[in-house]
Amino acid sequence: MKVNVLFFASLKEDLGCAEIELQLSELASRADLIDCLTNELGSDRVASLFAENVSIAINQSIEKGEFTLQSGDEVAFLPPITGG
């Protein structure tokens, strides 16, 4: 299945891309996502995505724990936000 992954702000700049499409197995877990991203981006860059101050949103809702992904899901990595 295909999952779209988005990067914002400093993460987008550091990675040099705003989004990538991943091919994952059905009901891929957080660990599966990390494995797939590591293959695509390398372990150093993936470590910055799963840093403590980076939030993960699945279909625009923050997910703090484990998750499973479905076909067509949108995964976003959000560095610390600063509105207002």
Binding site: L6, F8, A9, S10, A57, Q60, A76, L78, P79, P80, I81, T82, G83, G84
Partner: protein, 155 residues
């Protein structure tokens, strides 16, 4: 949310019309791009957002304020894109029957916009570009609202 500038007068007028005859107090706050930050010249600010999620986060903040205080109307305008130093960034207008609710809700909305609205700001300075981070004071101001009785000013 918009790239273009806003007019305080026009937004104020829209708020008053929407608030109706029971409105007796309107509080406004306008945030600007500072021209200096820690003695360093700032030429502008780049504001990035996440279409869809940003609107949802702003809607949640306003909904919490409306749930907490008795408000006739709330308008929030937040700009995105590249803004020059001195430009307006954000506008919050809150209408209520009496001033305590309007003042408190306006401050509450700003404190939560700082820490929970999905935006990213990059300062364009004379010495380079820096992604801004929320400060411990920003989080403290947000957290201070937890448990406060409604319709009162916290400070």
């Amino acid at each position: 949310m918009q790239q273009e500038d806003f007019s305080l007068a026009e937004e104020y007028e829209k708020c008053c019309v929407a608030a109706g005859p029971e409105c007796g107090a309107v509080a406004t706050f306008t945030g600007l791009v500072r021209q200096f930050e820690a003695s360093t010249a700032v030429s502008g600010l780049h504001l990035e957002h996440y279409p869809g999620m940003t609107e949802k986060s702003m809607g949640n903040i306003v909904a919490k304020a409306r749930n907490r205080w008795s408000l006739q109307h709330v308008r929030v305008v937040h700009r995105i894109g590249v803004l020059e130093a001195g430009s307006q960034i954000v506008l919050v207008i809150v209408a209520s029957s009496h001033r305590p609710d309007a003042f408190a809700a306006c401050e509450y909305i700003m404190d939560f916009l700082k820490t929970e609205a999905v935006f990213w700001k990059k300062e364009i300075r004379s010495d380079g570009e820096i992604w801004i981070k929320s400060t411990s004071n920003d989080y403290k101001r947000r957290d201070d609202w937890v448990g406060e009785p409604s319709a009162t000013l916290k400070r």
